[in-house]
């Protein structure tokens, strides 16, 4: 039975037609979702159904009662009050901005209509209110007032209010649009539960993913007409009309025709891709690797392969040598099982339990609005394919699956070295085919503190307060991006400017975020006797700077007046806020130490090798104000221990002269590049044979998991290769199928050639 019928409805606002001849119906128990861009007439349609707007043409029939009796001179004549009232009570409306009654408690918001409209007794009304509040999980909030509730709770109260009057059809006008993103979920969950109960509902929303889950039918509206109508899997997954596609494309990057679900049968190498699909079904967020560990253990057991696993969910699986290879050296492979979990805002993907569905766009495999996990799932898939295959002939193989590479590296750090037999390890964690990384940086990290000695600002009315702010620099990772001088270090730049000012007192400073991140911002406030803003500004403009497009430098001058008691009145130009405070600043000695240390700290790429790879780099990652000290967080990465030690000697000297107090220090051991290792030579030769080009041998300032094996395995030889992946760690992450195939051939050759 149709609860609602809309017949040829049209509605004008002044001369614009916002709804043009729209007809549709809603069956009892059906959930209809209306999608469409802003201004497409969706909300107006709901308002017409609720008689909050008068229509200009057509009719609305709710529960067999017509809203409009007849037309006279093309003007609608509405039915009498009694019928309109009945229609009104048959429809309920949930508003975008809740429209709860602020002067009434949560419970009264619900009972007021029951008592006054439905003429229930107070007891009956209370009972009903309790019932719906319980259902909305808001029982304990019944005596609160709307102003005490979160947005999500408010919307649930407004849903409860509508449920209490039990209308035949509930309209919801963008019920989550006014909510903070983190509150959207609870409301959507509530609505989903109502849909399951077979409530008749019309929902206008922008949450596409939610629409797909909750709708029995979807209508897509644009420009006041229904463009497309059908089941959600049709309209959302396979829209026919161009307008629908364009709209949906903004929310999910899926609806492109070129993109389809990945078909394993159609793509080669099937053995690798099918394993990748299998592990993509297993949630494996960094730090949550138990399930993938269990899968790997099961995999080994099924194939009667020798395996080892530990408390960090690391797994090692061994495969015996093929006949004829018994005397060859054991060969190791290594990948990490965890992945970075990032998603686009509208994605409802739950990384802790949802499988990642694989899609194909041309040569690329990608996920729908989430990271793909090709970093390093493709490596894991290679190792599984190697272990699974009985066609590949080769020596005894050892596949090491590590965990938490993306976060703490604890898997590689704590794996038991005695369990690893091989001395040659090929890591499959490289995102570029045609490049082979043969080193892992040695990384030293420090927190160094300079004690703050405070004094009062000298009693001199010529002092002016300035604030120098660097913001939105490019930043980046201190391993991967340090070679790029465009990224400029705002801490260094800022201190450099400051140091050129005579008679200056620092009040406070801070910048950067973490020791292994190139800082993106820096702020320092100080007092100087220079009153001329332009002259000050000139000192900054003289700097040669590289800081990307968004990098911004601001100098703010405060107007100051100092009275006899050495109190100072500060205010920004144009600001009306005035306050008195006694000014405490760094003593001259402290100021000098801070400036001296930062200025003498050699930052950025320090040394290069003959191929222009950075082999020594330092990063002043952050400067923070503690209670009694300024803390500097800095790191040093190197691929050459001699150069490093030279730098270190110099650094220790600087630290000493400036009374830097080291509070924390950590060393991550690296792997020094060895161009002449037999593994590097063999793999480079095979690559040349297959692809007829030289593989590029790279030195990296990044810390690879192999760095942790160095201590555990004497005489370790380590390289890192892999298939082409793009935009890793972002929802755009994708991997090239062609490259997967080529690298697969390469790996097979490496194993088989003696």
């Amino acid at each position: 039975m149709n609860v609602l019928e809309v017949e040829c409805l049209s509605k004008k606002f002044e001369n614009t037609e916002v709804i043009k001849d729209v007809s549709f119906s809603v069956k009892e128990g059906e959930t209809l979702v209306i999608l469409g861009p802003s201004g497409s007439g969706k909300s107006t349609l709901l308002r017409c159904i609720n008689n909050l707007e008068r229509v200009d043409g057509g009719n609305i029939i709710i529960n067999k009662k017509e809203m409009i009796k007849e037309y006279k001179n093309n003007k609608p004549i509405y039915n009498n009050k009694e019928i309109l009232n009945q229609i009104n009570l048959d429809t309920g409306m949930v508003f975008q901005d809740f429209n709860l009654f602020p002067h009434l408690s949560v419970k009264e918001n619900i009972t007021i209509s029951l008592i006054n409209v439905f003429k229930m007794s107070k007891e009956e009304a209370d009972k009903k209110a309790n019932e719906v509040l319980k259902k909305m999980d808001l029982k304990e909030k019944e005596n609160c007032y709307p102003c005490d509730l979160s947005g999500g709770q408010k919307q649930r109260v407004s849903i409860a209010r509508v449920l209490a009057i039990n209308p035949k059809i509930i309209c919801m006008d963008e019920p989550t649009s006014a909510l903070d993103p983190e509150l959207v979920g609870e409301v959507l969950k509530t609505i989903k539960a109502l849909a399951k109960e077979k409530r008749t509902m019309i929902i206008v929303t922008h949450e596409i993913k939610f629409a797909e889950e909750v709708a029995d039918r979807v209508i897509f509206m644009d420009g006041g007409i229904i463009v497309e109508e059908g089941k959600p899997e049709e309209v959302i997954k396979k829209p026919k009309k161009q307008r629908t596609k364009e709209f949906l494309k903004r929310y999910i990057n899926l609806e492109d025709n070129s993109m389809k679900e990945l078909d394993i049968e159609e793509n080669k190498p099937r053995e690798v891709i099918s394993f990748f699909k299998e592990i993509s079904d297993i949630p494996r967020e960094s730090g949550n690797e138990k399930k993938i560990r269990d899968y790997l253990v099961k995999f080994a057991k099924e194939r009667s392969l020798e395996y080892y696993t530990d408390n960090n969910f690391n797994v090692i699986i061994r495969k015996p040598a093929s006949s004829g290879y018994e005397n060859e050296e054991i060969l190791g492979f290594q990948s990490h099982t965890d992945m970075i979990c990032e998603k686009i805002e509208s994605s409802m993907h739950d990384f802790s339990k949802d499988p990642i569905k694989l899609y194909q766009d041309g040569d690329f495999i990608l996920a729908n609005g989430t990271t793909l996990g090709a970093d390093n799932g493709i490596g894991v898939a290679y190792m599984l394919a190697i272990l699974d295959s009985d066609k590949i002939k080769g020596p005894e193989l050892e596949c090491i699956f590590t965990t938490q590479e993306e976060t703490t590296m604890i898997g590689a750090k704590e794996i038991d070295g005695k369990q690893i037999k091989c001395k040659k390890i090929i890591s499959l964690d490289n995102g570029k085919q045609g490049k082979m990384v043969i080193s892992s940086a040695n990384c030293l990290e420090w927190f160094g503190e300079i004690e703050i000695d405070k004094t009062n600002l000298p009693d001199d009315e010529n002092f002016v307060k300035y604030e120098l702010v660097y913001s939105n620099f490019l930043g980046g990772h201190s391993g991967g991006n340090i070679g790029d001088i465009k990224r400029g270090n705002p801490i260094k730049l800022g201190i450099e400017v400051i140091s050129k000012i005579d008679e200056m007192y620092i009040e406070s400073l801070e910048g950067g975020s973490r020791v292994n991140v190139i800082p993106r911002n820096f702020r320092i406030s100080f007092y100087a006797k220079e009153n001329d803003y332009e002259k000050m500004k000139e000192k900054i403009n003289k700097q040669i700077r590289f800081f990307g497009e968004d990098g911004k430098i601001e100098l703010n001058k405060f107007y100051t007046q100092i009275d006899k008691a050495n109190k100072i009145e500060n205010c920004y130009e144009n600001s009306t806020k005035r306050k008195f405070e006694k000014i405490e600043v760094f003593s001259k000695f402290t100021t000098r130490k801070v400036i001296n240390f930062v200025n003498r700290f050699v930052n950025g790429p320090v040394e290069y090798d003959e191929n222009n790879n950075v082999i020594l780099s330092a990063n002043m990652g952050a400067v923070k104000m503690l209670e009694n000290a300024v803390r500097f967080e800095y790191s040093l990465r190197s691929n050459d221990i001699i150069l490093r030690n030279l730098y270190l000697e110099n650094l220790k000297e600087i630290e000493k002269t400036n009374n830097i107090n080291i509070t924390w220090e950590q060393e991550l051991k690296g792997i020094e590049p060895n161009y002449n290792s037999s593994l590097v030579e063999k793999c480079a030769k095979i690559y040349k044979e297959i692809f007829n080009v030289d593989i590029e041998v790279k030195i990296s300032q990044g810390v690879l998991e192999g760095g942790f094996f160095n201590d555990k395995i004497k005489g370790l030889e380590y390289i890192c290769i892999g298939a082409d992946t793009y935009d890793v760690h972002s929802p755009k992450e994708r991997v090239s199928i062609k490259s997967i195939g080529e690298v697969w051939d390469y790996i097979k050759q490496i194993i088989s050639i003696k």
Partner: protein, 216 residues
């Protein structure tokens, strides 16, 4: 002037407070409903009614209350030869005057309630009267309270104009005493009484405001 004399004058003035308060309370009670009605009619979609109300508000706010009192009392006499109770005339003219001021305050309050409140009430089945009294008015009260307290305090002091048509209230007694004794002290005493009365009215309003602070 001796202390005894002052006490005596204070007693005389005190006897006038009753009339002042009567005017105040009656005007207050009668002008509020009238103000609400005017505010609603002023918002009416019927252009004639709305225009009429606009004119009424303009007329009342545009002329001195003293003139209004005189007109209300003497007009019937000059036009029809009817004379009536002076006190009644004061109440009528005060109610007409304050209803105009109150109506504008109510109107601003009503208009500041979001349209969504009415829409929500409508979809829940309330009729217009229920919507107004159960949803709109309670919220309006909170909003207009500060400006109402202003207007009410001014009303309390304006009661002194009742003497224009010979209604004896506190301030007229004070004036008489002042000229009788050649002294300003009776007027200062009267000022003291007004101050005390206003003080209590302010306290009442503050209490009421506090009471409505349970929501925001």
């Amino acid at each position: 002037m001796s202390f005894e004399q002052i006490v005596n004058i204070a007693k005389i003035l005190f006897s006038g407070i009753g009339v002042s308060l009567q005017i105040f309370v009656l005007t207050f009670i009668l002008s509020i409903p009238l103000g609400i009605i005017v505010a609603i009619l002023r918002n009416s979609k019927n252009k004639i009614i709305s225009l009429l109300m606009k004119f009424y508000i303009l007329l009342i706010r545009g002329t001195p209350i003293m003139l209004q009192i005189i007109v209300v009392y003497f007009c019937p006499y000059y036009m029809f030869g009817i004379s009536y109770d002076r006190f009644a005339a004061i109440i009528i003219s005060f109610v007409i005057n304050y209803a105009a001021y109150f109506s504008e305050i109510f109107r601003s309050g009503i208009n500041s309630i979001p349209e969504g409140q009415k829409e929500a009430a409508y979809t829940l089945g309330f009729n217009k009267v229920q919507t107004f009294f159960l949803i709109i008015l309670p919220q309006v009260v909170k909003i207009i309270l500060p400006s109402m307290s202003n207007e009410v305090i001014s009303l309390l002091k304006t009661t002194s104009l009742a003497q224009i048509i010979g209604v004896t209230e506190m301030f007229s007694l004070a004036q008489k005493q002042a000229s009788y004794n050649f002294s300003i002290i009776p007027l200062i005493l009267a000022g003291g009484y007004y101050l005390i009365l206003v003080f209590f009215v302010s306290i009442l309003f503050n209490k009421f405001e506090k009471k409505l602070e349970y929501y925001s």
